[in-house]
Amino acid sequence: MSIGLILLFVVGLGVIGFYLGRRRALTSVSGDPRKLHSLPSQYGQSVFLFTVVPALLLLAVWLLAEPRVIDSRVRGVVEATGATGSELDLKMADVTRISEGLDALVQRSTLTEDQLTQMRADMADVRGRLADVGVALGSAVEPAVFQAAKQRRALVQTSSLLKGAGVALFAIAGFAFAISRINPTFRARNVSEGVVMALLIGSSLVAILTTVGIVLSLVFETASFFRMYPAKDFFLSLTWNPQFRGGSDLGIWPLLWGTLYVSFIALLVAVPIGLLAAIYLAEYASKRVRSVAKPAIEILAGIPTIVYGLFALITVGPALRDYFAQPLGLGSSSSSVMTAGLVMGIMLIPFVSSLSDDIINSVPQAMRDGSYGLGATKSESIKQVILPAALPGVVGAVLLAASRAIGETMIVVLGAGAAAKLSLNPFEAMTTITVKIVSQLTGDTEFASPETLVAFALGLTLFVFTLGLNVLALYIVRKYREQYE
């Protein structure tokens, strides 16, 4: 039974359950919903959930466990050939492919079940026939592997049948159980809310899982990087100078410094402008202006960063060089931290302005009235009453902008250059961690070289570093939080 069909059955039963449950709840009190503990539709929901959730959970568990169980049963056959380690793994991969290929062959009816049972690896051109259905095999098929494949296919078929039956059974059982439980005192709302709650918790766990995934996908390559390159140099060296053919200096400090410097300048641009724009939109602008200006500014967040990058490269960079850097004797580089920071700041404006505007807008009118009633001007009210009240949200907005600043590449590449440097001069070219992650990862260097793998180490270090910053930010927000009402 295909998974789609199973899903359809389960969900269909669930929907029927919803209506039946609601009806049953109502009839149990002869049509007077007031005698029910919960709303009729909540009884329906509970039946739906009881039907669908356990069945789907079973399906999920089955789908997760099936390959492993089957794998362990089949593995023995292959192990008999004396294969171990990675060879065994490879052969097991072959088994999987062959058994799927055989399935495809049968489905295209180029092969009947009978023929299949007759078929032997040493006689039939298995590799060729499988290639016809698009299954790639690295080498000719060994008999044991073929045998294992056939066994695997049989197991998969049984499992598929059992799976369908089991899931359907679960669904029906849940359905019957839920229906039978319906009586006026049954706490249907609590049940369905419990499930929703589980969903909410599950959703927030996605974030944790993502983090785990990120750390896991970085940590192994990072470890192999540190096997090739001393951690001491990575963390303590002040030069970043990768070479194509090895012998590179891969100190993180110049990159970290560049990241902080560029982000700092970008926030220096984006936060005041964004915040002032938000204030203007929320407090001063007419409805018309607001309804046009806000989405318009949001477009800034949607313009591909390459446009900003080119803008930095062609317009801002030379202008800064000609009007500031050179007259001030601060160098003559057209790529500079300043260029990238300024332009990135523009990109970040909507992150600060839009969200802050929403938050400022949701500060209760009573706060404004209270302040105006004391003879405060608008700006005084904003600065001293409204902004403090909106602070947590505004901090969130700034955090979002800072995050984007750290993660940006294109603007930095084109605006600030690719040279890693430790310098205070904002008119010098520098670069950031993110830029180097991208460039080292997509370069022409060997993958298994420190020059490429350093990308993973950089990613992990940045991750840990921003984690520290975030803990700090959380601490500060907690400290200065002001609650109205």
């Binding site: 990120i214 996908s217 402008i273 203007y280 318009a296 313009i303 505007d357 984007r404 992650i437 990862l441």
Partner: protein
């Protein structure tokens, strides 16, 4: 009392309302300054936007027009249908190269027949004025209607990118002199053809519907596959990131007990926002492709990766918005016996809607414009075949709009510059369409209390 009012001309107690005292004047000045700062901030943002947009539109508008040259030629059945049975399958064996030779041969003759002087310019040069895509166009037409063979047909062929550039003003006589790919003679011929009506510029639907083309055919490159790919990915992002993000925010803001674990989740989420997008690509490659076995270059993987990338943005803004809902609303609902869940879904969420929608707008904008994570999961690619309809199409190779922009900008032929900007315009229009609903809803939900 009447008496009192009558004789009483009010004696102002010192300060008149109409004349401002020193301090008020100062405060008003500061008020005006503040307001001005705000206005300046808006103007700066808008000015930056206008500047960027004008440069994009200025560069990209021309991508929506394309130059075609008229060519009259006789389709030689001996060349194009060697078997002579008009079977499209058989005829498909004839390569575009042969069609190309046919066209190159016919083009000068066709011009001369129209009375245009081709003096001082070689036949190869004339042939080069046509796009390398033109033979493919012709071949498609012949294969779809084999009975055309043997007849003399009129055919509007794509002109070469440089000729197109000349018509659009990108290429000049002066630059052509230095340009090894086009000669002034060709441009002069183009002028003559235009006067004779053999060269026109039309609206370029193909730019929106065609797939990408190689570097040799900038004039044929389009965004079709990229638009479909982006649309598929955005569908996935919207249907996953929005519910999951809002659900996670609700849990964290409204239900989670204040403890180490929820603090951990909270810090985690803000930290995920700061993870560079390419790291999400690394994650996607490791988890979705290598571990889960999903196909590379497919919108499903792209969509999932972008979902994970967008989640923190949506969560952070949703939480900020939820935080801003006054507690009295919650008390009111709880007081009439609503459960916490009902309180949140019936009262708090609608009030937080503007912030949620803003987060969605920003998140989708980012997701739509991001290339770096796609680099690692194989979507930064040259894909010419359209993915099929959903759901199957989610698993077919596809490209994406920002990828197309990126690809166009890295190509050598200057004709791709306008395509890149054109693609950006399409991307922005796409974004705007996506945001319109959100913007409309946001305005509806906005209220003060």
């Amino acid at each position: 009392m009447t008496d009192a009012t009558a004789q009483n001309t009010p004696a102002p107690s010192g300060k008149s309302l109409l004349s401002l005292d020193q301090r008020t004047r100062r405060r008003n000045a500061s008020e005006r300054r503040f307001r001005l700062y705000g206005a300046v901030a808006i103007c700066l943002s808008i000015a930056a936007l206008v500047m960027l947009l004008t440069s994009v539109i200025g560069n990209g508008a021309s991508a929506f027009f394309q130059t075609y040259a008229k060519i009259e030629l006789t389709l030689d059945p001996a060349e194009l249908d060697p078997e002579g049975n008009r079977n499209p399958d058989e005829m498909g064996k004839v390569t575009t190269l042969r069609y190309g030779n046919l066209m190159k041969a016919a083009f000068p003759a066709s011009l001369q027949a129209a009375g245009i002087s081709t003096e001082g310019i070689s036949d190869t040069e004339i042939g080069d004025m046509l796009s390398k895509e033109a033979p493919a166009q012709l071949r498609d037409r012949v294969l779809s209607d084999p009975d055309m063979l043997g007849e003399s047909v009129e055919f509007w062929a794509l002109a070469n990118g440089r000729i197109d550039g000349y018509i659009k003003g990108r290429v000049s006589m002066a630059s052509a002199e230095r340009d090894s790919n086009v000669s002034p003679a060709q441009l002069q011929l183009a002028d003559r053809m235009r006067e004779a009506g053999l060269l026109t510029t039309r609206f370029n639907w193909d730019f929106i519907t065609f797939p990408d083309a190689s570097e040799l055919r900038p004039e044929a490159a389009g965004l079709g596959v990229a638009i479909v790919g982006s649309a598929y990915m955005m569908l996935i992002v919207l249907f996953l990131a929005l519910p999951i993000g809002v659900a996670a925010s609700i849990y964290l803001e409204e239900f989670a007990p204040q403890n180490r674990f929820t603090d951990l989740i909270e810090v985690n989420i803000s930290n995920l926002a700061a993870v560079p997008s390419i790291v999400f690509g690394i994650l996607g490659l490791a988890v979705f492709i290598n571990y889960a076995g999903l196909p590379a270059s497919a919108p499903i993987v792209g969509g999932l990766v972008l979902t994970l990338m967008t989640l923190p943005t949506i969560i952070i803004s949703t939480r900020a918005a939820l935080k801003a809902v006054p507690p009295s609303i919650r008390s009111a609902a709880l007081g009439v016996g609503a459960s916490k869940m009902q309180t949140v879904f019936h009262h708090v969420l609608p009030l937080a809607m503007p912030g949620i929608l803003t987060g969605t707008i920003l998140g989708l904008a980012q997701a739509l414009g991001e290339t770096a994570p796609l680099l690692l999961i194989g979507m930064v690619a040259f894909v010419r075949d359209y993915p099929s309809w959903p759901i199957d199409g989610f698993f077919d190779p596809a490209s994406a709009l920002p990828v197309q922009v990126y690809n166009f900008t890295t190509r050598g032929d200057p004709a791709f510059v306008e395509r890149a900007s054109g693609a950006i315009i399409v991307l922005l229009v796409f974004l705007l369409c996506m945001n319109l609903l959100a913007i409309y809803l946001r305005r509806k939900f906005e209220r003060r209390w």
